[in-house]
């Protein structure tokens, strides 16, 4: 896919339904390292059915690499379904927590910026604030950029989670 600047963006978001069993995560992460695929982020959590988890994996590579990644994932016995969300219309979200330096004189400016990003202040310390922000990766990057001058003491990002828009579901044979 080419973005608006004509730069090829070969990042793909794979939505992967897996059996909710111990060891599945190490099977998947092992596959990526063993075959030399580049993983940008991986999140995992339970789904509407308790015996199935959903992984959202962001990976980059050309079409052939993505095809191999998909096929190799499908080969793992505990993987139920792999869908490449990139060509589809999907809702993508990520959550980040930023612990920012906040001397009393800087505090109101930080809060104003956070408000613009619809981020929340979830903890206030004597010299710091924790900001919680949800959104696409770009939005979080932008907030991080804005907070940098104040000094980011610590930060954590969840990695991307995604679902297809509309009525469509991740279908699989039961």
């Amino acid at each position: 896919m080419a973005n608006s600047n004509g730069v090829i963006d070969n990042t793909h978001t794979l939505s992967v339904l897996v059996a909710n069993k111990p060891g599945v995560l190490s099977h998947v992460s092992g596959l990526f390292s063993r075959r030399g695929y580049n993983i940008d982020s991986l999140t995992v959590g339970i789904t509407e059915s308790p015996d199935i988890s959903r992984m959202t994996i962001v990976v980059h590579g050309d079409e052939q690499v993505i095809e191999q990644v998909t096929k190799q994932l499908n080969k793992l016995i505990d993987i139920i379904k792999v869908v490449d969300l990139s060509p589809q219309d999907s809702v993508d979200r990520e959550l980040a927590l930023l612990k920012v330096n906040a001397e009393p004189e800087a505090r109101s400016e930080i809060i104003q910026i956070a408000n613009i990003f619809r981020a929340s202040i979830v903890d206030v310390g004597a010299k710091s604030l924790i900001i919680e922000v949800t959104g696409g990766g770009d939005k979080i990057d932008a907030l991080e950029e804005m907070m940098r001058p104040f000094g980011i003491k610590e930060m954590v990002r969840t990695g991307k989670v995604s679902l297809i828009r509309g009525n469509r579901l991740t279908q699989y044979e039961k």
Binding site: G23, S26, Q64, I77
Partner: protein, 565 residues
């Protein structure tokens, strides 16, 4: 039997009964503390247990048994070092897609993770070399997990499955009834080929003037040898096989090209380069087969039939991929084809000329005992044989000069290239096929990697024959040193070799030393007749090279032209 159809049995008893349900008649194993409960059940079980002398041999023997019989091989080892010793054997089976179930003992669930005596995370260790593995955590899951292990190992693209069973699971009481079927939501291999793809393949085949069939081990695993022959004869296309595909097409057939690739025949490689259509069946286009991938079959359209979708388009661009079972797809292909008069006459003429011009050859008019000559004699003299190999020069010579007529008669570690595989695999093959004359073709290096299995062969009365092509070198490595490292034979000259005849005799087996060409025949016949294991120590020419040879990374028609200075 209780009223609900279940019986109360110990985990170990459940395991043995379940193996019975899967039709397992033989397992290869080695006892230890964590599996005592299983061995106690085996003590009066009808399952034949072959006690090996090293767990690696148990895995290889189960693998050889599987390759020779087509049934799933089973090996058993204790926790910790027993389990880790299986690793090379499991990896060997994984690379060659062999159905194998490896059972390992484990320390009790309550203390897993505490670095207990003889504890190893074998499910963690074997993730990348098993098709599937599982640590049994709940005794009640045991029957289902055994059923799944055998199902997964033997269906789709076969492969090894490991089941790690903690000691307390083996002693626990289980409500037992063996599940009749398996339903794994996430595992439904595609079996029948897509009709549209088969039609597309037919169109390509009908147009082709220079087609080649490239047959891999998948054709043997799918029991598709007959279908390969029918397709080849219908379209009059020459057939080349990979090392793993050897036996899938009779090598005395006029359409046979022998093996292709790094040590392929010249005519097979030339045919690939010149072909306009490649029909690959159950082959994965390994680097040893393709050489430089950019110049592999440059003018050919490619039809690729494989049960593993991930193999299609992995290494070579494919025009018509067909996922599914090779046997049924080939059958459909042959019956759907419209052309009954193939356009391949000129092509076959060209190949006949290549075969005449570039036959497999070696120096015959010399006094030395040539290793190729030994294998040619074995090929001539052994009837109804299964030929197993180790890894190295002798393996390639066996690939050249053993002319297989039927599947499951050539057994070799292709993907992993495991030295030490052949002898235990031959024992497994002989146990599975006691009426066959089983030969392990070995080098003096490889045989010493599992030579202790002489005791296994003796103890269990398994009369396999081992032809050691003894040149006192790690021959294949020496050959590379000669060709690419200025003849600097760094640590390949093995001067400390034992007297193999005495080694055999020390175990109570037969040892025969052969130094002269004239004695080869009698020695082979004597071995075939022997009801004890035989070591034949052929003292062969020391610095013989395997040719043809294509250097690693070169195009497969760029052969090494080498004359010794």
């Amino acid at each position: 039997m209780s009223t609900n159809g279940f019986r109360r049995l110990s985990g170990a008893k459940v395991l043995i009964e379940s193996l019975g349900h899967e039709g397992v008649d033989t397992i290869f194993g080695y006892p230890g503390a964590a599996v005592l409960q299983i061995y106690d059940e085996l003590y009066d079980s009808s399952i034949h247990h072959i006690l090996v002398r090293h767990e690696q041999a148990a895995a290889h023997a189960a693998d050889g048994y599987a390759r020779a019989t087509g049934r799933t091989g089973v090996c058993l080892a204790t926790s910790g070092p027993g389990a880790t010793n299986l690793v090379t054997g499991i990896a060997t089976a994984y690379m060659d897609s062999i159905p194998l179930v490896a059972l390992t003992g484990q320390v009790p669930t309550s203390i897993i993770g505490n670095d207990v005596f003889q504890e190893a995370d074998i499910t963690g260790i074997t993730i990348p070399i098993t098709k599937y593995n599982n640590l049994v955590k709940n005794p009640q899951d045991l029957p289902r997990l055994i059923k799944e292990a055998f199902h997964i190992a033997s269906t789709g693209r076969p492969g090894p499955v490991l089941l790690d069973i903690p000691k307390d699971i083996l002693t626990a009481d289980i409500d037992y009834s063996y599940p009749e079927s398996v339903n794994i939501v996430s595992y439904k291999p595609t079996f029948s080929g897509h009709p549209l793809q088969i039609k597309k393949a037919c169109t390509l085949i009908e147009k082709a003037e220079r087609p080649v069939l490239l047959i891999g081990g998948g054709a043997i695993l799918a029991n598709a040898a007959e279908e390969v022959r029918q397709l080849a004869e219908t379209i009059m296309a020459p057939v080349t096989t990979t090392l793993m595909g050897k036996g899938a097409f009779p090598e005395d057939h006029p359409l046979a090209l022998g093996m292709l690739g790094m040590h392929g025949t010249r005519y097979a490689n030339y045919a690939i380069i010149d072909s306009d259509l490649l029909i690959a069946v159950g082959a994965r286009f390994s680097d040893r087969v393709t050489g430089k991938i950019q110049s592999f079959a440059p003018n050919a359209k490619v039809i690729h039939i494989d049960i593993d979708p991930a193999e299609l388009g992995k290494n070579v661009k494919v025009d018509v991929p067909i996922v599914g079972d090779a046997k049924s797809i080939l059958k459909k292909l042959t019956t759907t084809l419209k052309v009954k008069l193939p356009k391949t006459a000129a092509w076959n003429q060209k190949i006949i000329l290549w075969k005449k011009e570039y036959p497999l050859d070696y120096e015959k008019d010399c006094s030395e005992l040539k290793p190729q000559c030994v294998i040619e004699r074995i090929n001539e003299l052994v009837e109804d044989g299964i030929f197993v190999t180790e890894v190295g020069q002798h393996q390639m010579w066996a690939a050249h000069y053993i002319r297989c007529k039927s599947p499951r008669t050539f057994i070799s570690s292709g993907g992993l290239g495991t030295m030490g595989y052949g002898f235990p695999a031959a024992i497994g093959a002989k146990v599975g096929c006691p009426d066959k004359d089983v030969w392990n073709i070995a080098g003096d290096g490889s045989i010493q990697m599992n030579i202790q299995e002489l005791a296994t062969a003796m103890e269990n009365n398994v009369p396999v024959n081992v032809a050691i092509l003894n040149n006192g070198y790690l021959g294949m490595v020496r050959q590379w040193q000669e060709l690419f490292y200025n003849r600097r034979y760094s640590y390949t000259n093995m001067t400390g070799q034992p007297d193999f005849v005495k080694v055999a005799e020390a175990y109570g087996a037969v040892g025969i030393e052969v130094n002269r060409k004239e004695d080869v025949k009698d020695a082979i016949l004597a071995a075939s007749k022997s009801d004890r294991p035989v070591f034949l120590d052929f003292k062969v020419a020391r610095e013989e090279n395997v040719f043809p040879m294509v250097p690693a990374g070169a195009s497969i028609n760029e052969f090494v032209e080498y004359r010794r200075p």
